[in-house]
Structures are given as structure tokens and as C-alpha cells.
């Protein structure tokens, strides 16, 4: 399994987390782990990734969220 690319979007407000996730998706190295700290960012990143045809696994980490994006 290849190394996970980490995108730390905590503390950023939308659409910034979506933009960072999309840049990582364009680079094409999967899996990608996106870290966010709000429910709205979680939903926006999840839907943006699903729209790009990716599988998304959401994990709550304390008050924060980790979204793992795979092809």
C-alpha cells in the first residue's frame, strides 16, 4: 500500500478545504487523508470527493474528522 497523502485543512473555512483536497486529487497519489474540524467542511469535502468519483471513508477523531479518499 502506498503512503497516505495528508491534507491538513483544519482551521480553514470552505471552500478552502475543498480546494486543497481537489489539488491533492489532481496529483493522483492515493489514498488521501483530509483533516477537517467542522461538520460543514466534512460534508463539503465528502461531496466534492464523491463527485470526483472517489470512495470516501469518514472517521471522527475527537471533535475533528478524517476523510480517507480512495479510488
Amino acid at each position: 500500500m502506498s503512503e497516505t497523502k495528508i491534507v491538513d485543512a483544519r482551521g480553514l473555512s470552505c471552500p478552502q478545504p475543498v480546494i486543497l483536497a481537489q489539488r491533492a486529487i489532481e496529483e493522483g497519489h492515493f489514498p488521501i487523508a483530509v483533516l477537517v474540524d467542522t461538520v460543514t467542511s466534512r460534508e463539503n469535502v465528502r461531496r466534492a470527493a464523491e463527485r470526483a468519483g472517489l470512495k470516501v471513508q469518514v472517521e471522527a477523531v475527537g471533535d475533528e474528522f478524517k476523510l480517507t479518499l480512495t479510488r
Binding site: 473555512s13 470552505c14 471552500p15 478552502q16 475543498v18 480546494i19 481537489q22 467542522t38 461538520v39 460543514t40 467542511s41 460534508e43 463539503n44 461531496r47 466534492a48 463527485r51
Partner: protein
Amino acid sequence: MAPGALAQVLRPLLKNLEEEERIVVGLDTPDDAVVYRLENGTLLVVTADFFAPVVDDAYTYGAIAAANSISDVYAMGGIPFLALNLAAIPADMPPEIATEIFRGGMEKAREAGVIVAGGHTMADKEPKYGLAVIGTVAPERLLRKGGARPGERLVLTKPLGSGIITTAYRAGEASPEVLAKVVPWMLRLNRDAVAAVHATTARGATDITGFGLLGHAVEMAQASGLRLRFWADRIPVLPEARPLAKRWLFPGGTAANEMYYRQWVSIAPNISEDVAMLFYDAQTNGGILAAIPAAEMERFAAACNRLDQPFWEIGEVMEGGPGVEVV
């Protein structure tokens, strides 16, 4: 604040206001401004709003923020006349920039016939600007979210898209040319839109701001105890917003609107999710959403025409459980 969170904060405070008989419109309804009856019967319309910059240009920012604050008086059917500045200015902001923000606000207010006679400014890291505004409204001209009646037509007086365009611009994902398409709409006063509504016997209206078209529509549906049906292909959206929506560059506020209000909204399955999300997009000084008696649509259209006020007929008010549907 997010829609659900704000309601939760205000709920414990409702009881204090119920006892005030002078409050004609208060916290117990989701209306755009407070309406207070003076001893002589005059109705005062009182509101306040301020926000962080939505554009780079200081003068334009001030003007948009002022137009947005004043809009809440228009949305209640009122005529604004007096305002106070509410501002936060960073300590390191050059004074001439701050002056431009206030100048933009005062000149926009003057366009609305409003005098800005004072205010309060504090220091903060991020600039904030807006107005506290007072107006009057004749009782028969009062427009409420709860004033919609079955059979009326829903009209909207500005296209949607200011939320996604301004935040995409700030994130470097939309060009200055794209931003320039939405600025004139954000600068436009809702005065003429409401004047056209007043050419009819309509009683139900609101302005579209932070909760987006569908959020404010839910408030209107619930306050009126009726169902609002929107025709998706008639809802105006700035063309520049559509590719940004396809890339899902929605602001957090838009996402929060959808998460909260979707429980009262049904969207036809043939409408793609990026288009539906635009209907939730948080607007800055958006248009007036009004319910116009069907038989008076011609009169409304003639008044809009006379005032050079665009409008779109986007739906209808129906009997049935309170809620919103998009078909």
C-alpha cells in the same frame, strides 16, 4: 451564525419579549426586523447587520454592507430614514482605507434617503462593517414572512450566486471579472423591488440573505403555514456561479444552510445536486422574495418595468403542510 444554532441561542430569551405589547414583530417570528409601535401608533422598523469584507475595494465593501443592512427595513415594507455605523477596524489599517469603507456606507445610505448620524467602532483583527437602521412602516404596508396566501405567485428580484462567487474569489478560484458580475447586484438597493410589491396587495415577503433562497423560503412557508413550490428552471442564477458550483466551491454558510433546512425541503430527483446547492447559497444583499396575488402579477410586472427593476416568477404558494418543494 448557523441557522439552527442561532435559534437555539435565542429561544430562552423569547419569554421576556412576549410581555411587551409594543413589540409588533419580535423574536418569536423569523422576520427581518423588529417592529415597534410608538404611543402615537407609528410603527418603527429597527434592524442591525454587519459582516466581514466580501470584496477588496473598501468603498464598495462599505456600500454593499450598508445596502444589505438597509434591506431588512425594505423587506418589512418599511421606509428607512436613520442609521448608525457598526464597525470593527484593524489597528494597522491605513486610515484612508477605513474612511473609504465609511464613505461607501454613508453614500449608499444617502441613496436610500438614510442619514448616518453616528455609530460605534472598535478594533478587531478582521474588519467588519454594517449599519443599525431605523425606518417606519404604515400598518397596511407591513410585509411579513407569514403573509403569503395560497394561490399567490413567488417572485425573486435578483439572481442567486453572490455567496459562491465572493468566496471563490477570495480563495483565488474566481477572476476579478467574475466578481465584477455580482458586485452591481450586491450594491443594488431593494427599495424599487419593494415599491413594486407595494403596487399590489401582497403581504408576504422577505429578503434573501445568509440562509439562501431555500432557507428563507422555509421560514416563509413555516410562518405562513403553507407550502412553497419553486420551478427550478425559472430560478435565476448568475451564469458565472454555475461552473464554481460544479467544482463544489460552496462557502461553509451554504453547506450549513443545506444541512439544516433540507429536513423541510424536497427537491425533484432530476435536479443535479450542484444546482440544488445553489438554491441554498448564502447571499449578500440578495433580492426580495415576495408572494404576489396571481391576479395582480400584471400590475407587479408593470411597476417593475416602470422602476427598471428586474424580477423572475419562480414559483407558487400552495395549501398543504408547511414546507418547500423544488420541481
